[in-house]
């Protein structure tokens, strides 16, 4: 009985709260929230998500809220709370939100949900992702051309589709440039632990890898430290990492969530996001592109990479 009392109270309060702004602002009152697994200052996935959401909110004039460092067990509560607070679109930042979003979406049919790197777009759930294979293929090509030992290295956190797609693309690119070479992989099972990232990378380097592609979140910093100490080069992810690591980074796969989120959220109509699997790749450079080449990458290699990118956009190369 008690809960019905509370429910009634909530409905009454909700109607009172809704009545005013609907008259005043009408259509423009669209809000979205993003729930992130890590901190927004990790220089990686979470920071990209936060900055992307911020850029989208500014570009489209939407109100935005965020929660950072939400542990797996707290996901459903965070998502459901935003839905109840009247946010039109609630974003789960990362594939680890897939199950929670599916459960919460069922109970909140009027809210649109968006999963970054999600795999299934149904009902009121959309996904946004990248063609990770294509961007990693481009980096793999550079690695294969530049490697002196013929051994490439890949560091991932967990064997989830995001990481395995990157690894497969990177390996395919590496072997396309150097058919006799090989790519070693290491898994840290931790996205944020800098020490583990460093250890895994040192391990790969000691096995002869001289072109490393680290793909974790905060832990990527550890990898880059190890590469810098050992004088080994490699690749950045999410942003043009050469700004911070001028000696180490040859090229970066930029997953620009500002462009991607703005593009996705511009589809909001009447406060709802049409359910779709939104995907971005080289053909949408505002959302996915390469950064700056390091001076060590010769013009020939750059030309070969640019040709491969054009081939992937045209659909001639399918790694």
């Amino acid at each position: 009985m008690k809960h019905q009392f509370f429910k009634g109270l909530r409905i009454a309060a909700g109607m009172a709260a809704l009545a005013v702004p609907q008259i005043a602002i009408a259509q423009d009152d669209v809000k979205f929230a993003i729930v992130m697994p890590g901190v927004i200052t990790d220089n990686s996935f979470n920071q990209a998500g936060y900055e992307g959401a911020l850029a989208a909110s500014e570009a489209l004039g939407l109100e935005m809220a965020y929660s950072e460092k939400v542990a797996q067990p707290d996901q459903p509560e965070a998502l459901a709370d935003y839905a109840r607070r009247g946010y039109n679109v609630v974003i789960g930042h990362g594939s680890e939100f897939s199950d929670s979003v599916q459960r919460v979406a069922k109970r909140n049919p009027d809210t649109s949900f968006l999963i970054v790197n999600g795999s299934e777009a149904t009902g009121n759930i959309s996904t946004v992702g990248y063609n990770y294979r294509h961007l990693a293929y481009g980096l793999g090509l550079i690695a294969g051309e530049m490697s002196k030992t013929g051994t490439g290295g890949f560091v991932g956190a967990q064997q989830i589709p995001f990481s395995t797609n990157l690894l497969e693309g990177y390996t395919a690119g590496f072997l396309a440039a150097n058919p006799d070479g090989k790519v070693l992989s290491a898994w840290t099972s931790d996205w944020d632990d800098v020490a583990k990232g460093k250890e895994a990378t040192l391990n790969l380097i000691s096995q002869g890898a001289d072109m490393i592609f680290p793909t974790m979140d905060n832990a990527t910093i550890g990898s880059l430290q190890a590469m810098q100490e050992q004088g080994v080069q490699g690749f950045g992810i999410y942003y043009d990492a050469i700004e911070d690591w001028p000696d180490t980074i040859l090229q970066s796969a930029i997953f620009d969530l500002s462009g991607a989120m703005t593009a996705v959220l511009s589809n909001i109509e009447d406060g709802k996001l049409p359910s779709k699997a939104y995907e971005f790749g080289f053909e949408t450079p505002e959302a996915a592109r390469f950064g700056t080449f390091h001076g060590d990458v010769s013009a020939d290699v750059q030309d070969a990479v640019n040709a491969a990118i054009a081939g992937m956009v045209a659909g001639e190369i399918n790694p």
Partner: protein, 362 residues
């Protein structure tokens, strides 16, 4: 008067919590927010809002059981820091039975899942107990280290043999819906696990206080040598108390799976086992106070998340406040009530005219 001071002293953990919140308030103010608005959001979100209370109770279920898993072995003098690992092993065993044992009647299957979870947690706790009883190896270190083994075992199983095909994140397939615990607060995720926790708290309060088993454990805990002379098999009591504690923690893991998540997730427990240690001490190691201590800590945790969403407070400050509560509580427990000092203090105040020579006799 001495009684009043002693009573106030007994409540020292509560004063410690207030002190921690005060220091936390300074940090919130330093971060540019109003501490009163922030704490208002916290307590409203944790205890007054219907859905917020739901979130609090959802967290309370496993922490309550994890608290019992600390209290029970501690009666026999064993410090079980391994609740976290026992939660993981309980969840692993129960999920295994839930997914791979088929063809049983629904009720029997349900019972078997619960039993499997308890045995999983119990056996995991039995390993440090055996090492303690027969080799004298420190159970604190063994249980801590075994947590990591259990967490990584679960990670291995759910990203390997038990992983749902095509899952975007390491988790097992969903268990069958006849195993789901029923919801008790419509619209929220609160499930019957909380009732199990409350019943078990009461049961263990009774057992520890009135049964021969409980008194036997207390004797072992207070003085193992005396217990041996009294005819108690100390080694066996160590094993039993740890097994029971581990089994309760295993049940916590089981209800997380069958009550809340319906799958086994990689890293599904954010340290409920360690929270259990905090609430156990907050409750003064008494199972009857445990639900109140747990309600408070769970509310703090759930409310902290609301505080982040409501006023945009950084997660680092929220974590710092939770840490402060734990540090202050732990520090307050280290204080011992110094009865002679307070008696002297009171006497001195009441009889200021007493001549110096008398003070020898006090």
């Amino acid at each position: 008067m001495i009684k009043v001071i002693e009573f106030a002293f007994r409540l020292r953990t509560i004063w410690a919590v207030f002190l921690a919140l005060f220091v936390g308030g300074i940090m919130i103010a330093a971060a540019g927010h109003n501490p009163f608005t922030a704490y208002g959001a916290l307590f409203h979100g944790a205890f007054i809002d219907y859905y917020g209370l739901g979130a609090t109770l959802v967290k309370m279920s496993p922490i309550l059981l994890a608290g019992l898993a600390v209290i029970i072995p501690l009666r026999a003098g064993l410090f079980n820091i391994g609740g976290e690992g026992q939660i993981y092993m309980g969840a692993l065993c129960s999920t295994g039975v839930a997914l791979y044992v088929t063809g049983l009647p629904d009720l029997a299957h349900f019972a078997l899942v619960i039993v499997a979870g308890c045995i999983g947690g119990g056996l995991w706790a039995l390993i440090p107990a055996i090492l303690k009883a027969y080799r004298g190896i420190n159970e604190v270190i063994v249980t801590i280290l075994m947590n990591y083994v259990a967490i990584n075992l679960v990670s291995y199983f759910v990203s390997g043999p038990m992983m749902q095909e095509g899952a975007p994140y390491p988790y097992s397939p969903e268990i069958d819906d006849h195993l789901f615990l029923s919801w008790i607060m419509p619209g929220t995720d609160v499930h019957t696990g909380i009732i199990m926790g409350l019943l078990l708290s009461f049961t263990f309060w009774f057992i520890l206080k009135y049964s021969s088993v409980g008194i036997g454990w207390s004797t072992v805990g207070h003085n193992p040598v005396a217990a041996k002379y009294a005819g108690i098999n100390v080694k066996r009591q160590i094993l039993i108390s740890m097994f029971v504690g581990g089994a309760v923690a295993g049940l916590a893991g089981t209800i997380e799976v069958i009550g809340l998540k319906y799958r086994l997730f990689h890293l599904f427990s954010p340290g409920y086992g360690y929270d259990g240690i905090v609430v156990a001490f907050l409750a003064g190691l008494n199972p009857i106070f445990l639900p109140f201590a747990t309600l408070f800590l769970s509310g703090l945790k759930a409310g902290a998340n609301v505080m982040q969403r409501a006023i945009g407070l950084e997660s680092t400050i929220i974590e710092a406040i939770q840490g402060l509560v734990i540090i202050f509580t732990a520090a307050s427990l280290a204080l011992k009530f110094n009865k002679p000092f307070w008696e002297r203090f009171l006497n001195r105040k009441e009889a200021p005219s007493t001549v110096k020579g008398d003070s020898k006799n006090v």
